[in-house]
Subunit: 220 residues, 2 copies
Amino acid sequence: MSGNKKISMAVIRRLPRYYRYLSDLLKMDISKISSKELSQRMGITASQIRQDLNCFGGFGQQGYGYNVESLFNEIGNILGVNDKFNVVILGAGNMGQALANYSNFEKRGFNIIGIFDVNPDLVGKEINGKKVLHFDEFEEFIKNKRIDIAMLCVPYEKTPSVAEKVASLGVKGLWNFSPMDLKISHDVIIENVHLSDSLMVLGYRLKEKLRKDALAEAKK
Amino acid sequence: MSGNKKISMAVIRRLPRYYRYLSDLLKMDISKISSKELSQRMGITASQIRQDLNCFGGFGQQGYGYNVESLFNEIGNILGVNDKFNVVILGAGNMGQALANYSNFEKRGFNIIGIFDVNPDLVGKEINGKKVLHFDEFEEFIKNKRIDIAMLCVPYEKTPSVAEKVASLGVKGLWNFSPMDLKISHDVIIENVHLSDSLMVLGYRLKEKLRKDALAEAKK
DNA sequence: TAGATTGTTAATCGATTAACAATC
DNA sequence: TAGATTGTTAATCGATTAACAATC
């Protein structure tokens, strides 16, 4: 039973990865997979796969395994791939433009219905078939629409005020690209993409690797 | 003692966040902070902060707390902010250009020394003061240089081969922006930025929030 | 010194892994 | 049916939190 039991973030964050692997299997025309096979491909335990999936339902069949296509669809449904989210991009700089051009997002149910900026060089420009509007028009724009998610690609200093503004206008999900933790007075879901954090972790791990390599080399 | 005990990824991934908060405190001219105060700002426990920091050393002083500037510097050192990493950007599309324009990375010790692409429209173009070179020149380029990190912003299909290629030429760190898990035959550190995974998690969390909100509304 | 807060050990909690009965 | 593999419970492991002695 999928029911009401709380699902941990650890499990939730693994779902897109399962989804990717199942998509790959589908492309390879593999129609059936056991938790053991999948665990070997993904480098995790079969136990974890079965535990994770059973948070949402019994998608497998004893003695057989999992049907790849139906499991793919089930996870897609859980993730809301068929739910159609209305999305706006705020900030049409390089990052905003990069996101506007990712066709993958549309495939996953995220429809970009508006791109906004304040820079007169960008306002009016067409990106991936959509005209950049001035942010002043946003309030009017949102009036007769449901906007689920705002992708925040504005400069660092402007991020808090823009986030607060769109949250006050009813946007419920924020995808934050600025290296800060947003504190918003409204009840919104915030998902962060902290690029500099990620890069610094890479730096740390790399440094450790080089240190260990040098140590191993010296020992020889 | 910082010594040899293995530090968990959970701790490592929190370091950049500590670094950001300490940087903010510095900007606010706050020179001293206790684990308790910091825990309130960050929304974690004071215990966790003390445990995390003591993986690397005793940076505090009993009865006083932590000196913000020195702790900031210590964590910076741990993360390698002063280490100077040589970085190349592979793929000069919107994402590559966005990364090339992030001045923050340079500040954190990541020096972008080359940008490469195969698109003749982009080769020769100047981005943030650096000329885009053709990827064919990369092998020659790397010959007399140490390149620590390659930022992989090439199209999805090209990512595995480009990653393999640069790893074979001695690049030890890969920052992967394609929604896939790279399997590389060389010993490299891979850090992923899986944007679509992050967005799908946002979609899931948003869907759950709306579901719960509707449920609470109905109960009233 | 008295008060405050660390560093660190011990307790708890949650997540992962192992085991196995259920069942296709 | 026999073999395979799930769903699920139990055991283990690791990470977080609590507690407190050390000490500034």
